[in-house]
Subunit: 618 residues, 2 copies
């Protein structure tokens, strides 16, 4: 379908916005009045620029407080509206958005509004444009889509139709299904936005917290299905007011917006097919690819002098060799593969890449390309396996790898000079890490929503619980993303927007890898006897633990001696231990017994202990 | 009265928090459980450290979900509570905070709660502590202070009393006056917090948006009066959960907190006196000082090579000379005095100091000192007037000057080698700036609340309207602060927390001075004929103006030709024009005709025009 985006979504001057919209591949824009007024470009220049960029101007918006107008203000209001209709016509915009009025003096009388909509329609008609009437969720008299529709239906004017905005409809909890009853030709425009669930007044929610479809908690699919059932084939346009999006690079942001629209269209088509329907031909599809099934490898920034290799060996990893041509080394334990990249030591955080096993590398890569992900070109020598690598919003390189049920993936053979893989777990049964429990990635606050959609749409990770962890330097939002099968979990830790002087503190130890072990106490005991430095957990924590949970003094003393943390939920128990930070990374060891969380209750203690370890020089 | 602060208000480790609390001059702390648990300090070490710092531990908090407990969980709950009571006793904390329960399985039966409070009281008594029961605004069964009080009254236990928290009471809109009926000895603790008005669920509001008293929209004085009427003389303790405060320097933050408590105590005493009462002797007073009456001078960073002097001369200012001993020059026009500081050119923003005329310099300075403002020591040579200078949270140097109804203040004579002052307005009647309309200061986002309280408590400026200005690089919160008489206005522009790569863009042109003129059109015409470069306002703005307001084509063309912006409110009209940015500062010229705003509707256009001017090399 014809895709569009409101200029108000993006940062920059109007020129910068238009270039970003075109670069992201949109078909058109909604031109926001303020962007026009503040621009030094003339109407003609704007029209010429959009044409050069291959963009249509699909909507001029908004015209406010032009219905329910008291009689004494009506002629001035109509004159103002007419001026805007002529302006829209000069821009080549076919439609002007009319919002339901919010002024306190709004005449709350449907008959008056219908009469005024007709008069506006006459003026619009004269200028050669149409008006799309939209119910703002906080409109004074008209706040629901069905009220707006009744008025448009009553106005019965060829130049007067409806604008439907998913935010205004879904934020009120309105059922969108009856939209399907509207004649499609009376819907002149569709604006799309999502939002996180909040108990905030709807105006503030709308003005500051909208996000792109798929990034929030609204279910836009039923709304879209009802819309398409009317036969609507006009623009699908993103209109998001978001404090963060207003600040960030407009090109990356426009690409994120268009990804959301591609993903939504595809989800809608899938939903229609699933119920035996035939999706409209206009819906853009993206290549089907099943969710990631496992981690193939994790790549860490590590220079040769660092202690990370020693820690890995202590944990039971084997050194499998150096890459034949690249500054990489490989350490493995069973199916866990860690690549240390000596060239990446300066990157933010310490996890620079994640390889995901997917059912089809080709399908996953094509889907990533369809969804506008940026592919990373890696030089590959003859005989080397070509990995398809895409850059995530936080800079992490995401690779797709084929499933590997037995043995090693082909690329492992490119690492030479190390030990062979152990076929089974170590004989002592202790150094036994079974699999990666989760990978935890620091996310700059300005890319969080983009990252959620990226991992969701490309890899099938779904946002689960989100918790705020209180750190000595601020709150860290910790968002768990997991595949439906639960085999792949990525935790995104959103760092606070630190004051300039505290930036380096907040960034510390944001990335980590957690490994599952069947016997954490045994492993911790072995590591202790080998002198592997584990993170020291203060005694006060164990005093509290003993008061909080039904554990014996002996159990408490054992956990304390081993620096193992404990948590439980309604289903089971959880043990955690940490290596001291090595460079900017640390390793977590966990033992799960039906417990489904990630030890969020212990995160503050862990962060404080890490700060302390750093202050003490470890 | 005994002042205290909860450790949860501040950033840092427990040691850092305790040192900050002591440095700010508090008498004690509320120890937040998580701070204890995460600390490597033993109970004994914490107790010793607080004693060394001269701090008492006034409260251990919180104990959650220990009332309304289902029978089968009660013995474990009581055991947990007992452990915490013994812990509090070891810390030397006389009281443990018990919050009303929030669990979904809370037994919603007052009789059960009374029985459990009594049992808790027995255990507390055994440990030698008391419990202070507090109604959380989102408590499952108990959410109001009067419900909590009925339960405490019914429990009738010597170790069971009440904790009153201004946030939980005022956030629900509860009337605090009946608190006065509670026997003072049954109130064991008082927590104080303010908050901005928000339509947000009360839990999120409380956890993220509390501010120190005087920084928000709550009126804490009636609450305090009711509390004091009971005879309560226990701790007044600040308990604020704030995402920003958690990130910033704990010492500055603790000082801000104590300033809020000093200011509140003084306001309460004043309110009691105003109604003929006798304030309790324990209330700390601060020196009385009436609000600022006018600007005495504004000091700008400016090196000699910059164009600012030329622009000032064009605007009708006279060069009055160089300072005898310091790298300062002075420009005046009537009562407007601008000091250019050549040594301060590198500072953030361009306004480095503001001199305020106050009725008594001694009283204002003493009040500033009483309110913990940091005095700036300036070297003063013999014969020079000593200014009392204090540093505002954003770094601006705030000076106090005596009222100067006729002629020049004494310090003007320290500037030599320039022209004498004009006794009257220029003869042509055009170059006539009458007074400073307002001074606009950029505020780093992390110091905004602190700055509001600083200007409010030291200078009597009150927060008026706050608007969000959409800039090409983000939203700018613009907060007007004004004295009751309206003669002194400072606008604080809170810059967005910019991504690292956009910092310099967001900081541009944040500071400015606006001057009032009786004839802006005439002045603009004169400036145009002299070739003074004014900020170019795009034609699109005037097209819109013509559609929005009842102005003629001729009026529009004149405004456009002069680059004058227009606004009106229900009372009158407003004209604005801007010089192009000079260094990091710009000058605004305004003409008011009963209009009370600051042209916020034009701010986006102005910001865009400034960006454009910069891109074009002016």
């Amino acid at each position: 379908m014809h895709t569009s985006i409101a200029t108000v979504c993006l940062s920059g001057t109007l020129e910068q916005k238009l270039h970003a919209v075109a670069a992201a591949g949109f078909d058109g824009v909604e031109l926001f009045e303020n962007d026009l007024i503040a621009s030094t470009l003339s109407i003609e220049a704007i029209r010429a620029m959009t044409e050069d960029l291959g963009l249509s101007i699909d909507l001029y918006q908004p015209l406010r407080d032009v219905e329910g107008v008291p009689e004494e203000k009506w002629s001035a209001t109509l004159a103002r509206a007419s001026a805007k209709f002529r302006l829209a016509a000069s821009l080549g915009a076919p439609t002007v958005l009319v919002c339901s009025s919010v002024r306190s003096d709004t005449v709350q009388d449907d008959a008056v509004i219908v009469r005024q909509l007709r008069a506006l329609g006459d003026e619009a008609n004269r200028a050669g444009v149409t008006i799309a009437y939209e119910a703002l969720a906080w409109g004074r008299h008209v706040s629901t889509w069905d009220h707006a529709w009744r008025l448009v239906e009553a106005a019965d004017h060829p130049a007067v139709g409806l604008c439907l905005d998913s935010f205004h409809i879904l934020s009120l909890g309105s059922d969108p299904s009856a939209i399907a009853q509207i004649p499609g030709e009376k819907i002149l425009f569709c604006q799309l936005a999502d939002a996180p669930s909040m108990q905030l007044d709807v105006l503030s929610w709308s003005r500051h917290h909208r996000v792109f479809p798929g990034q929030g908690d609204f279910d836009l699919v039923p709304f879209m299905r009802a819309l398409l059932a009317t036969g609507y084939d006009g623009p699908l346009s993103i209109e998001v007011f978001n404090d963060v999006f207003r600040q960030i690079d407009p090109v990356a942001n426009a690409i994120d917006a268009r990804r959301s629209l591609l993903n939504l269209q595809n989800a809608v088509a899938n939903a229609i097919e699933l119920t035996g329907g035939e999706p409209p031909a206009g819906l853009t599809r993206v290549t089907h690819s099943r969710p990631a099934e496992d981690f193939s490898f994790v790549e860490l920034a590590a220079s040769p002098g660092q202690e990370l290799p020693a820690v890995l060996i202590s944990l039971g990893f084997r050194f499998r060799g150096r890459h034949r041509t690249k500054p990489l080394t490989l350490y493995t334990q069973g199916v866990i593969r860690l690549v240390l990249n000596e060239a990446a030591a300066q990157d933010l955080g310490s996890i620079v890449g994640i390889g995901f096993e997917v059912p089809s590398v080709d399908a996953a890569s094509q889907r990533a390309t369809d969804l506008l992900a940026m592919e990373v070109n890696r030089s590959t020598d003859a005989g080397e396996e070509l990995l398809r690598v895409f850059r995530a919003p936080d800079g992490t390189e995401v690779s797709f790898a084929a499933e590997c049920l037995t043995g090693d993936p082909g690329w492992v053979a490119e690492f030479v000079g190390g030990e062979p893989a152990a076929r089974t777990a170590p004989l002592d049964g202790v150094h036994h890490l079974e699999q990666i429990d989760h990978v935890s990635l620091a996310q700059p606050w300005q890319h969080f929503d983009e990252a959620v959609l990226f991992y969701k749409s490309l890899l099938g990770l779904r946002p689960l619980s989100s918790t705020d962890v209180a750190d000595a330097h601020g709150l860290i939002r910790s968002q768990v993303m997991q595949t439906g099968s639960g085999t792949v979990t990525v935790v995104m830790n959103v760092l606070p927007a630190a004051p300039a002087n505290a930036k380096d503190i907040a960034d510390q130890y944001a990335d980590h890898i957690a490994f599952q072990t069947p016997d954490l106490r045994g492993l911790a005991r072995a590591l202790q006897s080998e002198g592997v430095p584990m993170l020291h957990i203060p005694a006060n924590y164990y005093d509290d633990l003993e008061a909080r949970f039904d554990i014996t003094r002996a159990e408490r003393l054992e956990l304390q001696a081993l620096n193992v943390l404990y948590d439980e939920d309604e289903r089971g128990t959880f043990l955690q231990a940490y290596t001291i930070p090595v460079g900017k990374v640390f390793v977590e060891l966990v033992q799960r017994d039906r417990y489904s969380g990630f030890g969020a209750a212990n995160s503050s203690v862990r962060r404080a202990a890490q700060s302390m370890a750093t202050q003490l020089g470890r």
